[in-house]
Amino acid sequence: MKEQFPALIVTVPLLSSFIVSISGWVRRSLCFYITLSVLILINIFSFSILNQVICSGVIQYRLGGWEPPWGIAYHIDHLNALMLCVISVVSLLNLISTKKAVERDMEEKRGAFYTLYALMITGLLGITITGDAFNLYVLLEIASLTGYGLIAIGEDRAVLSSLNYLYMGTIGACFYLLGIGYLYIVTGSLNMVDISHILPSLYNSKAVMVAFVICMVGLWIKMALFPLHGWLPNAYTHAYASSSSLIAPLMTKVMVYVMLRVMFSIFTPDYIFRYINPGRMIVWLSISAIFFGAVMALSQKNIKRMFTFIIVSEIGYMVGGAWIGNRVALTGCIFHMVNDALMTLGAFLFLGILSHNNIDETFDGIKGLTKRMPFTMGAFILCALSFIGVPPTSGFFSKWYLLLGAMDAGYYGFMLALIVSSLINVILFFRIIEAAYFYGHDASEIREAELFELVPLFMVVAIILIVGLLNAELVQYIIDPAIPKMII
């Protein structure tokens, strides 16, 4: 059975989504529990896959039993496995935490909501696990379509922002598809490994270069890298907390993963770093992204909107780390992918708790919160420390790797950007903490959040701390093998 996990981890949530949508018409109350059990199952699958990968190296899986270039095949290495774990953990915690909010926000449509939820997880897991370039596109579209739906159900401005997201997202996905087409026309294959084997003979083909450019641009649109980030803030701000806390941590990180996959598994590191070397330019792009995100975040009144801009700048971290192109920086990049998913989840769970308790997400709204809900604030402050990058939270260590890598490669601008943005994060988060901590004496009837909301939040914090303390093992056994050998 174990060898079937790679297929099951994607198809079980898929099947569950159908069952959920049917039970949405029959017994609405079941939907949540079906989804819950499925997500627990997925966690088991993903961690056992990770375990297999660590113990016995890369896993191959042939769908329909057809050998790779002709059929679709999985090629699961450490990077896939790691992302699978992140996705499943995040989705599970978020599901538990948002149960009540979903019941309140969309009572008749709960069935549809959980269907889309399961579909979204399916899409993300599929993107992460697949080894076929075109299959990735299809799953990308699944994740995006469900994402549009989940975002659009929010406040009344959400629809418009979701429509804009749809335009941008479609352009991005189509660019990716086009890039794959360009590759196909010169290589005649769609399997990532196969393409990467054929490619070395085509290094000086213009088509390959253009294909690379188009793919990258498409993915940058999807991951909201600075000049192409326009859709993100509105979309995430106006969505309901129950959907934004799923999409915000995962969507962009998975896109970063796809970028790494395209860089290293389709186009070889040899090609992107030796042959055409756009590294310096892209790192400068990411530096501007970091600064832009930080500055915009400073100028926000609404806390949720502030976080969306923090996401933009964090994307800058990861893209920069990926394109500095030495081993240390890449370690930082992958590590930060994990951290950022967790931290963002923590932050958005906190926002979810606020909105569920009818506290509006502004600096006035959260006055006196440390007194009213001390546990929630405590957990949030720990997340904040991780955003700022204080040891022993995991945020510090990924930042440390990024800085170290940047220093080795001589990207001092990137170092500066990281440090400045950390300082700005201090300001951002202490503005929140101040607002919550001072003037705490006005009696209001806000109660501490309920257990099912607190437990996931605290689990996130615990994971952040544990990952921080055990990062040596994480890096040694998972992240380091995930980086291609030829990168020093």
Partner: protein, 491 residues
């Protein structure tokens, strides 16, 4: 390095960390304070239990977790750390007694939060004292910064908010903006951040890099309040007096000084400094701080602010003493951690007593208070003697060794600096005492009815005063420890 591995340093840190849930959960204030005392005493005992080993010249080390190649969160107890640990843990006991009296006397709000974060801050302090490499030290340093924020801003009013901002801006800004890059550079060049006797960095480090690192560390560890990075300390005086007493006279600022000592002696190292004679640079900055601090202190009328500026100048004694790179001066500096701690905490306690008893914050309103509160002002007198550095107080020894050090290196300037600042110290402390006792009756601003501060406040004050006298007669322990430290570091 002849050392033994033991978990005791970790325990010493965890004691007060683990006590916080109990403190937070305890409904009754008596139980809460009982827990505090328990933790404080336990911590002190653990620290003292390690003393014999240290005195035998060994050291105790314990590695918590490896982070990345050449980098780990690990603890090591050596003589230098021991001095600091003993001072802060012993003073925690006294201070917690004092805080009980103070907080109850003034009926402060949310005392539970206060005691919790106090405990956190203490474990961070001990952590800094016992940390074996830069990254561990950095970790506890940050922990201390964030743990002290709620204490500094305890009153939660506009003033507290502004000074809280200032506090974070200087301290966190310094640590992230300057120390972090400096650590990165060190790690990038050496591949490790451990404290090495005689310096972590290779001797062939270029002058430019050495200067950059030095300045980054010196100003980055803003807790040492070297000018121009000193403004947070007077601002932080909005905190309740016990906080100012323990944290801003002992724990926090001494953490800064301690970090600087570590960096100068065990990261940059003697060779590099003396090679590019950067130590003169440090001495220069330090002596400027000393003199300017004392001068500003003269002009301060608010009691605690005057003490704050005196602290600023006294801290630079330590920096100066270390930067002289001379055995005698080093002994003086490391003793000064202890001596100044006892003296200065006495002074702060007295300020607190006056405030509790009369609600007065300004020196000009304190004429003739000595007749009303004789014990407090007597203690104040002793404390000020110790800070000035006159016998029969412990302060005498540290200053004596510092002076000897300056003479050994034949630097008359710094000798002069020390002497002048001693005069200044006298100039800004003794008038207070004089006015308190010997002002004519008709000028006294006090009618009858003003009593001494409550016992909970008075006893700790007296204890500290006696402590600083006792250190004059029995300074061996600290002298011995600092000699051992000297051998280990090998100046």
């Amino acid at each position: 390095m002849n050392g033994i591995v033991s978990i005791r340093p970790l325990l010493a840190i965890l004691v007060s960390l683990c006590i916080t849930p109990l403190l937070a959960s305890s409904r009754n204030s008596n139980i809460r304070e009982a827990w505090t005392f328990f933790a404080a005493t336990l911590k002190f005992l653990i620290v003292v239990s390690m003393l014999p080993v240290i005195l035998r010249g060994k050291d105790i080390s314990f590695t918590v977790v490896h982070i990345m190649p050449g980098l780990s969160i690990s603890l090591r107890v050596d003589a230098l750390g021991m001095i600091f640990a003993i001072v802060s843990s012993s003073l925690w006991i006294i201070t917690s007694a004092y805080s009980i009296g103070y907080m109850r006397g003034l009926k402060e709000h949310s005392q539970t939060r206060y005691f919790c974060f106090f405990a956190l801050a203490m474990s961070a302090t001990i952590g800094v004292a016992f940390s074996a490499n830069l990254i561990t030290m950095y970790m506890f340093y940050e922990m201390l910064s964030f743990a002290t924020y709620p204490l500094v801003t305890h009153h939660q009013d506009e003033e507290a908010r502004i000074s809280g901002r200032k506090y974070l801006a200087y301290i966190v800004g310094g640590s992230i903006g300057l120390v972090l890059p400096a650590m990165l550079i060190c790690y990038g060049t050496v591949g490790s951040l451990d404290f090495v006797p005689g310096g972590l960095l290779p001797p062939e480090t270029t002058r430019g890099m050495a200067i950059v690192l030095l300045l980054f560390f010196l100003f980055g560890f803003a807790k040492v309040a070297i000018m121009p990075f000193h403004a947070w300390l007077p601002a932080a005086m909005v905190a309740p007096t016990p906080v100012s007493a323990l944290l801003h006279a002992v724990a926090v600022v001494k953490v800064g000084a301690f970090c600087i000592i570590r960096v100068i002696t065990q990261v940059l190292g003697k060779e590099i400094l003396s090679l590019h004679n950067l130590n003169l640079l440090i001495c220069l900055i330090a002596s400027i701080t000393i003199l300017v601090g004392s001068l500003i202190a003269l002009s301060q009328d608010e009691f605690k602010r005057r003490l704050a500026f005196s602290t600023i100048s006294q801290l630079s004694y330590i920096v100066l003493g270390v930067a002289l790179l001379n055995p005698k001066a080093f002994i003086g500096a490391s003793c000064h951690i202890a001596m100044h701690a006892f003296g200065k905490i006495t002074l702060f306690f007295c300020a607190g007593n006056v405030f509790v008893a009369t609600g007065i914050k300004h020196i000009s309103k304190m004429r003739g208070i000595g007749k009303r509160m004789p014990i407090t002002m007597l203690a104040f007198f002793i404390g000020s003697l110790s800070v000035i550095g006159l016998p029969p107080t412990g302060g005498f020894f540290s200053k004596w060794y510092l002076l000897l050090g300056t003479i050994n290196v034949h630097s008359d300037i710094f000798l002069a600096v020390l002497l002048i600042s001693s005069l200044l110290n006298a100039a800004y402390f003794l008038p207070i005492v004089y006015d308190a006792f010997f002002c004519p009756e008709e000028e006294s601003q006090f009618e009858g009815g003003i009593k001494e501060a409550p016992l909970w406040c008075l006893i700790p004050t007296v204890l500290c005063a006696l402590g600083s006298i006792g250190l004059f007669f029995f300074p061996e322990i600290f002298l011995k420890l600092s000699k051992i430290a000297l051998n280990l570091i090998g100046l």
